[in-house]
């Protein structure tokens, strides 16, 4: 039950083949926690309470242990975000090469501060720590894809090209 007393919708993996494959790959069930969370988040957009319960059931651990995991890792989101997550690296090499301007530019362009989502739900601006691509700083990761060494103009074009 949720706090408001309504029954939780049960979460079902649509890609059940992938889910079964993940579970079969490990010598124990709990090791499948992170990959199942990734799979579920891809499907749902963020980690819901129903996902927590479903993953707990498949990995045979307590939902609290799943939540422990979810809260530890920065890539798992516990609230709905925009369709496109604009993740700007802000660690040193990127910061030395204009990452702060990226953040300012996006904030100006869409009126969203870091952590916020545009009102049309298209973009969420996120500041993230080192993405491991310091040689091509500044780096912005949009959903799964890295965009490296862009100028502000190139960033602008890229953002405008997103349907």
């Amino acid at each position: 039950m949720n706090s408001n007393g309504t029954p939780k919708q049960k979460f079902i993996f649509t890609d059940s083949g992938r889910m079964e494959k993940i579970l079969s790959q490990y010598p124990d069930k709990r090791s499948a926690t992170l990959p199942l969370l990734h799979l579920a988040q891809t499907q749902e957009g963020f980690i819901t309470g129903a996902i927590i319960d479903a993953v707990a059931q498949y990995t045979e651990i307590h939902p609290a242990e799943v939540m422990d995991c979810v809260s530890f890792y920065t890539m798992f989101f516990r609230r709905p975000l925009g369709t496109n997550k604009l993740q700007v690296c802000q660690t040193l090499s990127c910061s030395l090469n204009g990452a702060d301007d990226f953040v300012d530019h996006i904030t100006q362009k869409y009126g969203t501060k870091p952590g916020e989502t545009t009102s049309d739900g298209k973009f969420t601006l996120l500041k993230v720590e080192c993405l491991g691509s310091c040689g091509t700083a500044p780096v912005i990761q949009i959903n799964n894809d890295y965009h490296e060494g862009l100028s502000i103009n190139e960033l602008d074009k890229l953002l405008d090209s997103i349907p």
Partner: protein
């Protein structure tokens, strides 16, 4: 066996023990927070760091094992390990750790329930700085309920993770977890899966600071006002060892007392909060005799005489009813009084629950059924038929107390009797049906021995003073017996009853309260 030098002490140590275990066993103080003997070692609080000769870094004493080293590598040709727990480096390190732990602490000891038994307070006093050098804004979070009986004050929490490990390792319920990470870490439970298992209360006991609080005790009293007395839990046949904390005539809380042969370090919430059911009862504190639909108060001499007269008149047509809630001594004396026929009320049972580490709540929710069976001989199972065959006309009942709900078959039995004598502490259904009511002691007032379901005899000690004219149950029974049989023994104290009991039952021989002590003893 390896030879350890710790500060200026030399200690022979079992190979494979840790520095911290050795220090605790030998009375050397090494401060610690995250270590708990019942839980997995994580070594994260860093409070127990010590210096070990030959090692470049300070070592956590909770995870540094002492073992035999090759003769060529012995320190000073003699020691397998040399440890410093008080040198400059170690003392400075403790100060540093305490400073970190206190950065965001509200320093609200005046209103903290842990004050007086707080490791943060104690260690700060012994090892810490007087002033904080932290000039930033403190991390402030509101209190939260982790379960219906447990509240967390996050600002006092030092994230030792004892409580989380407790739910993972001891209760096996895993409701608690660490949420987020780093500076933002906090202890949490899911809103829809709160910390409500039957061992939940232990997390407040094992919390080394004032972060986890039992709502049952919160802001009720100050620890230094309370008297702490060792006792035994009476809520099931496991017989967990407990400490009872009371002030004047009121119990404020129960905590588990360590006994590796019984309960380890823990107790269940049935026992922990069970004392409340004795708080608002219709207490009997004077002997009474029935007068129509009500009772008249008697003095003890009259009450004993009347009781003896009733028994005398019906002789062997009187039966005794012993109780697994009473001590061995009381049941034994009732047995002496009613040699012919002894019965018992049906057992009070609940669910048998075993936790992963074997911590157990017995289905038998009485504390002394084993003792009853040991020292009362053949008990009558089918009481209804015995009433007919032996023509039982009267009963002398040691009342179980407030937990007893009388079933219809017993109501029928009582209705058939010419007289019923009930020894009780409360106006129970049984007492209401009595002709004579003799005021015994309530559970936390009693003293005597009880035997748990594994055959361990333990010393039940009184936590509260007796009320009104009530007398120890064994003493009442002795007085009735003395009145009936002028030649019968007068026992000056419990010890004499125990001795007499041992003469009759070999496996109870040689026992004394002194020998039982705080840890109990296994019956042979």
């Amino acid at each position: 066996m390896p030879l350890l030098k710790i500060d200026d002490k030399e200690i022979q140590v079992e190979s494979g023990t840790t520095i911290l275990e050795t220090a605790i066993a030998s009375g050397i103080e090494i401060p610690y927070y995250c270590y708990h003997p019942a839980l997995e070692v994580v070594g994260s609080c860093r409070m127990c760091l010590v210096q070990v000769e030959g090692m470049s870094k300070l070592q956590v004493s909770c995870n540094t094992f002492i073992g035999e080293v090759h003769p060529d590598r012995k320190v000073n040709g003699k020691y397998d390990m040399v440890v410093y727990t008080q040198n400059e480096l170690v003392v400075k390190e403790r100060k540093n750790i305490l400073e970190f732990l206190l950065l965001n602490h509200p320093l609200d000891c005046p209103v903290c329930d842990q004050a007086g038994e707080c490791y943060l307070q104690d260690y700060s006093f012994k090892f810490g700085n007087a002033h904080s050098r932290f000039e930033e804004e403190k991390r402030v979070r509101p209190n939260e309920y982790l379960g219906s009986q447990i509240v967390i004050n996050h600002n006092r929490c030092i994230l030792c993770s004892r409580c989380v490990r407790f739910t993972q390792e001891i209760s096996g319920t895993s409701e608690l977890f660490v949420e987020a990470r780093g500076y933002n870490s906090k202890i949490a439970a899911l809103e829809d899966k709160p910390l409500d298992n039957l061992l939940a209360g232990n997390v407040a006991d094992i919390c080394p600071v004032g972060a986890l609080l039992s709502t049952d005790y919160i802001h009720k009293n100050r620890i230094w006002n309370l008297e702490q007395k060792p006792s035994i839990c009476q809520d099931c046949s496991v017989g967990c060892n407990v400490d009872v904390f009371s002030q004047q005539d009121q119990i404020f809380r129960l905590t588990a007392r360590e006994n590796q042969d019984v309960n380890g370090y823990f107790m269940c919430d049935i026992g922990r909060y069970g004392f409340h059911r004795f708080e608002k009862i219709e207490r009997i504190s004077h002997p009474m005799v029935r007068n129509g639909k009500s009772f008249n108060v008697l003095d003890w001499d009259e009450a004993i005489k009347k009781t003896a007269d009733l028994i005398e008149k019906s002789k062997e047509k009187t039966a005794g009813i012993v109780s697994p809630f009473h001590t061995n001594e009381s049941n034994y004396l009732l047995g002496l009084l009613m040699k012919e026929t002894l019965g018992y009320l049906p057992p009070i049972t609940g669910e048998e629950i075993t936790f992963p580490t074997k911590f157990r709540i017995s289905a038998d929710r009485s504390p002394n059924l084993r003792g009853v069976n040991d020292i009362c001989g053949d008990l009558v199972k089918d009481f209804t038929s015995i009433i007919k065959t032996r023509d039982i006309r009267g009963l002398y009942i040691l009342d179980d107390g407030v937990d007893r709900k009388l079933d219809d078959s017993w109501k029928d039995i009582l209705a058939k009797m010419d007289f019923v004598i009930v020894q009780s502490y409360a106006m129970t259904e049984l007492a209401k049906s009595a002709h004579i009511v003799l005021p015994g002691l309530a559970p936390f007032e009693r003293e005597g021995t009880i035997t748990n379901d594994k055959g361990r005899i333990q010393w039940l000690r009184p936590s509260l003073a007796t009320k009104g004219d009530s007398k120890p149950d064994w003493e009442i029974l002795m007085l009735v017996r003395n009145a009936l049989h002028k030649e019968s023994e007068y026992f000056a104290d419990l010890g004499e009853v125990i001795k007499k009991m041992g003469d009759q039952f070999p496996n109870y021989s040689g026992i004394s309260l002194f020998k039982i002590g705080t840890q109990g003893m296994a019956l042979t």
